[in-house]
Symmetry: C2
């Protein structure tokens, strides 16, 4: 295995937009962008074995440092040979810093410029994270891409809080960069600033000054809505270096992704396909299906006509409805499989369209369709 | 697809025992016996997709008529094209009659020579089964092997109850035979009689007189213990026609299976590998592992050295212990996969040994080893 850091090479650019395809070369393999990462919260994409993830077209998986820190713990993961060994996933892994989950799962958080202190949501144990610790943890996990510890405030928050979060994110980014000590791992900086273009600009400039292997846009997809998200992206993405990968964290619906690719985003992660799949919600090009509905009791059609996943090729809606109805694991498993494949098919289509210079006109037509199908949809939850 | 009924052909006999290998030809494919069927209670082997079952070496799957009758219901299954379609399993399926689950899951059962009446354990709905109904249900499910409705009393029970159950089983078998109306489906008769050799003899003779495509031995593995089970089998199996398949229902541990193969049994089903897998219990040649144990926290070994399943080839004990510890589906899934493969490897080994005329001497050595590893083991539950 190479200890060379990942390399990023732009392959094609779309003439009608900022969209691009690229090859991201990591110690665990190549990633074609734009890419969607399923979320492997505690060291597994829930219910899906790694060989199936490969079959579904997944190339990059996200794992949550917060969850892994609590259980099984970093010492354990290091002892057994790292995160790839734990997950039995030999492809590229991206880890977050843990900060986001601290904010969203641990109400007892105490935050200062020095550190985050929180109580484990599992057993109440007091834990302290700071930029150096969060970075060193990811160094030890051995992920291919590590993220800086940032301060992601809730949405909405007042401008004072937002500004404080931006300054702390900048401060911490420098400390993460200093602490980073794994030559085969990329480290990405994160731009915060809510929906405030001025704060985004300040944060982007300062983070870029520190110089990272890639840049993420955090603090979106938190309830600000598609229009605010895209407006913020339109103001922020042009500030980022063209030659480095760009990652929109925790986003999103198909329309969100199409709009963000258009603005030059390369990497996405989101719990939507898996979380919703476990809750009997299926993504299709015709719109969502809710498989607990009795309407599907004797429906012999696949979840989505033409889908090549092992769920659609073999199982009827009736069977999946039955599995959810009786509480069989196969219901959540099959819809997670289909939804991940739906997202991967979308990304494959997007990459082809960019390569063929046809992305912008396709996006003009498809974005509003997907928007009306999914961005107004109930039942979309981002918690995994 | 052929509408020929299944055909049974003995391929090899072991010189030192009654063990034999055979080829059972069904409308959905061939089954090499001795065979172990995993249990697909409600139309799925819990958590495992059909392609994985094939990869694990499964050729015949059992589904429970009782559960399917309650949900999704026989009308639904028929409307969507039968049980194979529901399960997305194109191989052979064996269905039970539903009787056993009525006795074990429905305390409100009223039983007469005419019928079984019970309240659904799901919603309390009153349901009536009789031999003709149970047979017609299986005809409509379209399984490859259907079972007669029998009366399986609890163990222990008094001799009057046991005798009554035998007489009712004989009476019902004739009615099942009369009602059976699916030319592409085998129908097996069932011999009851507890551990009483005289009752077993009477039941076997009467059931054979009716003439079935195969014969099952029911009412064992209910707590009578290995010695009583094998004693009963030794008295009963020689009464069954040599040229028809023999099925020992709901059994058992590796030692039970080896001993029963020795006495000429061809087909087995049991929830042990899946049920125990879901409860963090792994079968290995060295004895059981209980994966919740902290001893495995940093154990990088596979569940069983040398096992070729996708669990053992990829995942460490540490990872599986972690998945059980955090409640990830992958824990139950991976151990179900390994345990099914463990059973299938055992059956493959048994078939090879019989073919090579080396089974009896191997069984002499292995049976006591497996007996001490598993028949005294706690944590083995037969409920699925």
């Amino acid at each position: 295995m190479s200890i060379e850091p990942a390399k990023f090479k732009i392959i094609a650019r779309d003439a009608g937009s900022q969209a691009r395809t690229s090859l991201l070369d990591t110690p665990h393999g190549q990633v074609h962008t734009p890419v969607f990462c399923p979320v492997g919260t505690t060291g597994t994409v829930k219910g899906i074995l790694p060989d199936r993830l490969v079959e579904l077209g997944c190339s990059l998986i996200l794992a949550n440092t917060y969850h892994l820190l609590l259980r099984p713990g970093i010492d354990v993961i290091e002892k057994i040979g790292g995160l790839h060994k734990l997950m039995a996933w030999n492809g590229p892994i991206l880890t977050d810093s843990g900060g986001y989950q601290v904010f969203s799962l641990s109400p007892l958080t105490k935050i200062t410029d020095a550190s985050l202190e929180f109580a484990s949501h599992v057993d109440g144990q007091k834990i302290r994270l700071d930029p150096a610790i969060a970075t060193r943890i990811q160094n030890r996990l051995g992920s291919d891409i590590a993220m800086c510890l940032d301060h992601c405030p809730q949405y909405p928050c007042d401008s004072g809080q937002l500004s404080e979060a931006v300054e702390r994110t900048i401060l911490w980014a420098a400390e993460c960069k200093n602490a980073h000590d794994n030559p085969s791992q990329m480290l990405f900086g994160i731009v915060q600033g809510g929906t405030d273009p001025a704060l985004r600009k300040r944060c982007a400039e300062k983070i870029i000054e520190i110089d990272f292997d890639g840049y993420a846009i955090g603090g979106l997809g938190l309830g600000e809505g598609h229009t605010n998200m895209i407006g913020t992206l339109a103001a922020t993405t042009p500030l980022l270096p063209v030659g480095k990968p760009r990652y929109l964290m925790g986003v999103g619906t198909p329309a969100d992704i199409i709009a963000a690719v258009r603005l030059g985003i390369d990497i996405f992660d989101c719990v939507l396909p898996t979380r919703n799949g476990r809750n009997a919600y299926a993504f299709t090009k015709e719109g969502p299906l809710r498989l607990r509905n009795t309407a599907y009791t004797t429906d012999t059609a696949p979840i989505e006509a033409g889908c090549d996943c092992c769920c659609c090729k073999n199982f009827s809606r009736a069977a999946i409805r039955h599995y959810f109805n009786v509480g069989e694991m196969l219901g959540p498993i099959l819809l997670s499989i289909h939804n991940i494949r739906f997202y991967q098919r979308l990304m494959t289509e997007i990459r082809s369209l960019i390569a063929e210079n046809r992305f912008a006109s396709w996006a003009d037509k498809q974005m509003p369709i997907y928007y009306s199908l999914y961005n107004s949809s109930e039942g979309l939850s981002k918690k995994d």
